[in-house]
Symmetry: C2
Subunit: 125 residues, 2 copies
């Protein structure tokens, strides 16, 4: 079965969190990249070992194969108003967690108020 990586995306008050299933992979085996400041790219490879373990090659026969193997790549358009420079990623227990903080919400534009003086006129004569 071709490899893939299932992804959940959570939105919190201050950030977006991407949670990716990468069973069997460690920190160094998953690549997280930002393209054009707007695209989050997650890639890696799930390998099916052909050794019998214990450091030496041994005769291995697969009698059942359900786990996907091979290279995978996922891309996501990031929302506006995120701070890609403050992103963080960690891999534990076969889960990759990427935190993308939101930028502080800009203050809403307040209507500007002008005093209107009685008897003055700004229209040039």
């Amino acid at each position: 079965m071709a490899a893939t990586a299932a992804v959940d995306i959570k939105e919190l008050v201050g950030s977006y969190i991407f949670v990716v299933d990468v069973p069997g992979l460690r920190n160094t085996e998953v690549k997280v990249q930002i393209e054009n400041d707007t695209i989050l790219k997650i890639s890696g490879e799930r390998k099916r070992d052909t050794e019998g373990g214990a450091g030496k090659e041994a005769e291995v026969k697969y009698v059942r194969v359900e786990r996907p193997a091979g290279k995978f790549m996922r891309k996501f358009n990031l929302p506006n108003h995120v701070n890609v420079d403050a992103m963080s990623a960690a891999c534990q227990d076969g889960l990759l967690t990427i935190v993308v903080p939101k930028l502080p919400t800009p203050e809403p534009h307040k209507p500007r108020t002008f005093d209107v003086n009685v008897g003055t006129c700004l229209v040039p004569k």
Copy 2:
């Protein structure tokens, strides 16, 4: 998506190895049992967290859900000639690995040979 757990089974010279994808689960969250000395049962639950992290509940909105969640259970008939008492199981990086050693192969039955003496007769008179 309902939870499941993909399983590969490898046969080595001296054992069978079950490799199970359990991303996000730890040792204590996966149960491995033997039923009737012949059935291997693997079960657990993949939970989707509803907290915002950092130990306090926060507003969480899922904007994408691909990862399966819920309880899962898999059963496998074990082959003959395995030693279930010597089984071992370990969980690391979201992979559960169960080693089921084979019993030593019994010696093939050799044909028994009898000496035939000339002139003697075993038939009762």
